[in-house]
């Protein structure tokens, strides 16, 4: 019998200085496709990186490639996080840069990026074109990297990996940020490459998986256990803690219309990304904002959060004031609790968990002011509520992604804002954390908070949502009440 493609024996693995696996053994035979799941912080990513040779470990990880195969004899790891550089090799991008015309032209286009990658790995460009088409990405080939949305960045990562056809492919959070159709298309591509011989390991807590995945493992308390497809270890029901008192008060809210857009258009040169948008959000309403990747959701939100320069040239009212009538972006941000993939990407790398959460009071990406006693006390309460007390002095970006997200969620709600904008808030969280957070959103929203929620997974939404706006190609496709239809 052929040797297993991955043979792990007596593996000891650390994350930072903490031992997360001890004496781990795992065998992956060729053509066995695995799903690896587990709560955030359980060590899934570290294990994947060890297999890919990206982190140091003790023990043995033996990789055996098939020398007869036409597939590349390598292991390729796709990170849950996409990082790119500009044409000068820098990655000093800043929050909001995407929307500033003139600042977008310093990064490579998708085409250039792929051509460079293809040359490096000696791949045929015609093959990637098929993949681009299959993921609905072909139109973006001449966009620059900084113009892409988070879901589109994910697609670019996936396309590169699939194009390479490695013998072993490990993908960390493959579905993050992808719309429903893209997830289905991706699963079809997974079926194809596994049929062609690639061994696939997916790290995910999602349930809509390709049929090719037939072995399931759960990482828990430093152990890896094989489970069946539907077997999820039930966490001992975390008793729902009462939310901190300072968050159970109704936020100071404006009355009437919070957001009012009339015939809003946004374009970059020839490319129009929002077309004639009319939308009104009234105080206390709970909205779901949906649309395929690249439909303009983030751009629409950036108009509301004061991050888009073209807001000044449009008919847009926020909190009762016409945009550009003398308010500063800080006046606007003060009233909004925001979480988004972009905010997370560009956040201060030097901030600790506590500083990051406290920065929510000032709407800054990092803490640059000394908070007063009340705010510090409130932060401590919230840190404890999210179970982050033991991490509070660690650098935020050194935490596992799921824990980073929890800290960001705390940052988002800490000032008890009148408008919550949650753009894919639960990316990277496990199911339990997602449910837990959505319940918290429901709880907060009882007090009259206005909500705009972006989420691609319909099964993972807060219950309080009552209205939905659907974007497609930069246009409003439909607006409906969804409470009644349920």
């Amino acid at each position: 019998m052929a040797q297993p493609i991955v043979h792990i024996t007596n593996l000891d693995l650390k994350y930072q200085h903490r031992l997360i696996f001890q004496d781990l053994n795992w065998t992956i035979n060729r053509h066995e496709n695995w799903l690896l799941r587990g709560i955030s912080g359980s060590g899934k990513t570290s294990l994947a990186k060890a297999i890919a040779g990206l982190v140091r470990f003790q023990g043995n990880i033996e990789l055996n490639f098939d020398s007869q195969s036409s597939l590349a004899p390598i292991v390729y790891y796709v990170a849950n996080w996409y990082q790119f550089k500009d044409l000068e090799g820098q990655s000093n991008f800043y929050y909001q840069q995407r929307y500033n015309k003139q600042s977008t032209e310093t990064t490579a286009t998708v085409r250039f990026e792929l051509e460079t990658y293809g040359q490096k790995h000696q791949l045929q460009f015609s093959e990637v074109e098929k993949l681009l088409a299959a993921l609905g990405f072909a139109d973006l080939i001449d966009s620059t990297l900084i113009q892409l949305s988070s879901g589109e960045h994910k697609k670019l990562q996936l396309v590169s990996a699939l194009w390479l056809k490695p013998q072993l492919l490990i993908i960390d959070q493959p579905y993050n940020g992808l719309d429903k159709l893209s997830r289905q298309n991706l699963n079809r591509l997974f079926e194809e490459i596994t049929a062609a011989g690639t061994t696939l390991i997916l790290i995910s807590n999602d349930k809509e998986l390709p049929a090719a995945i037939h072995r399931f493992a759960e990482v828990r308390d430093g152990k890896l256990t094989e489970v069946s497809a539907d077997e999820y270890t039930l966490e001992s029901e975390t008793e729902s803690k009462p939310i901190p008192e300072f968050l159970s008060e109704a936020p100071v809210s404006s009355t009437g219309s919070i957001i009012k857009m009339a015939g809003v258009n946004i374009s970059y040169g020839e490319k129009q990304v929002l077309k004639n948008i009319n939308w009104e959000v009234k105080s206390g309403e709970k909205w779901l904002l949906q649309g395929p990747n690249g439909s303009g959701k983030s751009t629409l939100l950036s108009l509301i959060t004061g991050d888009h320069p073209q807001a000044y040239a449009n008919d847009l009212h926020l909190f009762g004031n016409k945009r550009g009538s003398g308010e500063s972006i800080w006046d606007i941000k003060k009233r909004i609790g925001l979480i988004s993939p972009e905010l997370h990407w560009y956040f201060d790398p030097l901030a600790t968990v506590k500083q990051s959460i406290l920065s929510g009071f000032f709407d800054s990406s990092g803490l640059f002011r000394e908070p007063d006693y009340t705010r510090k006390t409130q932060a401590a309460e919230l840190i404890s509520y999210f179970g982050l007390t033991e991490y509070q002095d660690n650098l935020l970006n050194q935490l596992p992604l799921g824990k980073q997200r929890l800290a960001f969620l705390a940052r988002t709600i800490i000032k008890n804002p009148e408008l919550l904008i949650l753009d894919e808030p639960c990316q990277g969280l496990d199911q339990q954390q997602t449910q837990y957070f959505n319940k918290l959103v429901d709880e907060l929203c009882k007090n009259g908070t206005t909500l705009i929620y972006v989420g691609h997974f319909e099964s993972q939404l807060p219950a309080c949502i009552e209205k939905r706006i659907l974007l497609e190609n930069g246009e409003v496709k439909s607006v409906e009440n969804i409470l009644e239809s349920v």
């Binding site: 003139q102 600042s103 003398g326 500063s328 006046d331 201060d348 640059f368």
Partner: protein
């Protein structure tokens, strides 16, 4: 027009050179109020113009851009920058008469022409804002007596001004009011409000004067910031080639080394930079930087003297009049150096290796920063101003070298800085010829610690540390850096 500084009596010269006040954050509690509802018109829309304008508008202020007719009709980049970000753009005639504050962000060389064109159009009692004092101080531009003249100069490239603002911070900023043009006494209040508008008030604001800004800015950029970085880079590279080090390695060590080394400088001053070396290496770097200081001090003094007397600006303006003859020739020559023409090799150089294998560069930077600082302070410039114009800006310039070498550095900096840089470089290289003859690869190209057991004499080490740490650039630097702790690291590598 004659040199403004030279028209002043000594008492007033010293008085203006000595304006230097690190402002307390409580000075900015009024926010942007002093400019609220006023019409701000920016002349020019390059990197500083656009990014300052984006920040001011996001702070709730009314901003528009005025460009020359040709720039508008030709739809030049400046026009595109402004219109594509949805700013109103108009000619001088259309926008200047309405303006409460006119912000001149054009290159130095154009100032006289621009100010002569806009001044007659400005309404009575308006304010003219500069970000550099060359036109007022060196060219002696006379501004109408009813107009207020102020300066607000963010001490970072335009893209940083924007990036720091959107994350809720800002960049260190220098402000000044021209004493000859403050008829209503509103200059300082407006300058402070402008600082809040660009976010500068969060990262430390230094109140200076037009004179102090020009005399220190010219000195810093000519000597340590651009001049010595250029000279040091070229000499280090040439030495390595002469001694048979792989050109790709040598090119990379220098190109990225300046950035890695000065990042330590930015975080913790000369002390932190020197502490990155082993004890033996530190003592060696100290010794050769002392030697370099002795050799180069007369040149630093000459630059400062020529700046103070107006000789520098006189010769540069002659070159302007000659169609930038010298500037263009020197620029071309820089493009032809071996360092410029050798691409960085595809070799991995570890972060510590940039220190261990480039002791000479560390010594150059210590010598240059300390000399520039000392020379400025001796000439009557206050230590705080001298710090900004020497140590503070060195990492920012080093970053441009890391991106695309000297050509890029000289493209990004002003023409004035570029001219001074070449002037220094041409004088400095011959001065160092003898010194360089004795440099071996242990100082540049190979690890100095190799083959040494690392032992040092305790007393010698203590003495060296004492000299490094008690230098005034270190004591003042520690103070000023507190205000900018949150500045993020700019990194290419």
């Amino acid at each position: 027009m004659s040199n403004y500084f030279n028209t002043l009596p000594l008492r007033e010269k010293l008085n203006q050179l000595g304006v230097c006040d690190f402002m307390d954050s409580s000075e900015f509690l009024d926010g942007v109020n002093a400019l609220k509802g006023k019409k701000l018109v920016i002349v020019g829309c390059g990197a500083q113009g656009l990014n300052q304008g984006l920040n001011l508008r996001d702070s709730g202020l009314n901003v528009s851009y005025t460009l020359r007719k040709e720039a508008i009709e030709g739809k030049r980049d400046s026009w595109k920058n402004a219109t594509e970000n949805n700013f109103t753009v108009g000619t001088y005639e259309e926008l200047i008469p309405e303006a409460d504050v006119v912000i001149n962000l054009t290159p130095d060389k154009q100032h006289t022409a621009v100010v002569n064109a806009i001044m007659p159009l400005m309404k009575k009692g308006a304010t003219l804002l500069y970000s550099h004092g060359f036109n007022i101080v060196e060219e002696g531009m006379q501004i109408r007596k009813d107009l207020t003249v102020i300066m607000v100069a963010p001490k970072c490239p335009g893209s940083e001004v924007r990036a720091e603002y959107v994350r809720g911070f800002g960049v260190p900023t220098l402000i000044a009011v021209h004493p000859e043009n403050d008829p209503e006494g509103k200059g300082l209040v407006q300058a402070k409000a402008y600082c809040v508008g660009t976010g500068g008030h969060r990262a430390g604001v230094l109140k200076s004067s037009f004179v102090a800004e020009v005399k220190s800015d010219l000195m810093g950029e000519q000597t340590i910031l651009c001049g010595l970085l250029q000279t040091g880079s070229i000499l280090s590279f040439d030495k390595m080639i002469e001694k048979g080090i792989d050109p790709g390695y040598a090119s990379k060590l220098v190109q990225y080394g300046v950035e890695v080394i000065t990042e330590a400088l930015k975080q913790g001053g000369i002390t932190a930079m020197m502490d990155r070396l082993s004890n033996v290496a530190k003592i060696k770097a100290f010794e050769i930087s002392e030697e370099l200081k002795t050799i180069m001090r007369p040149l630093f003094q000459k630059h400062q003297d020529d700046i103070m007397s107006g000789e520098f600006s006189r010769t540069m303006m002659e070159d302007w009049a000659a169609g930038d003859k010298n500037l263009l020739a020197w620029r071309a020559a820089t493009g032809e150096t071996a360092f410029e023409k050798t691409p960085a090799g595809n070799v991995k150089i570890g972060e510590q290796e940039y220190f261990d294998n480039a002791l000479l560069m560390v010594a150059f930077i210590r010598a240059g920063v300390e000399l520039a600082f000392e020379t400025m302070v001796q000439a009557g410039i206050k230590p705080e101003s001298a710090y900004y114009e020497s140590l503070h800006e060195t990492p920012l310039i080093a970053n441009t070298i890391a991106r695309k070498k000297l050509f890029e550095m000289n493209r990004v900096i002003s023409d004035t800085a570029e001219y001074g840089c070449y002037l220094f470089d041409h004088a400095c290289k011959p001065l160092l010829a003898d010194f360089m003859k004795h440099v071996e690869t242990d100082l540049i190209g190979k690890n100095f610690n190799e083959g040494k057991d690392g032992s040092v004499d305790n007393r010698a080490l203590i003495a060296v540390n004492e000299v490094i740490r008690s230098h005034e650039v270190e004591t003042i630097g520690a103070e000023l850096r507190k205000a900018m702790t949150a500045m993020k690291s700019i990194k290419t590598v």
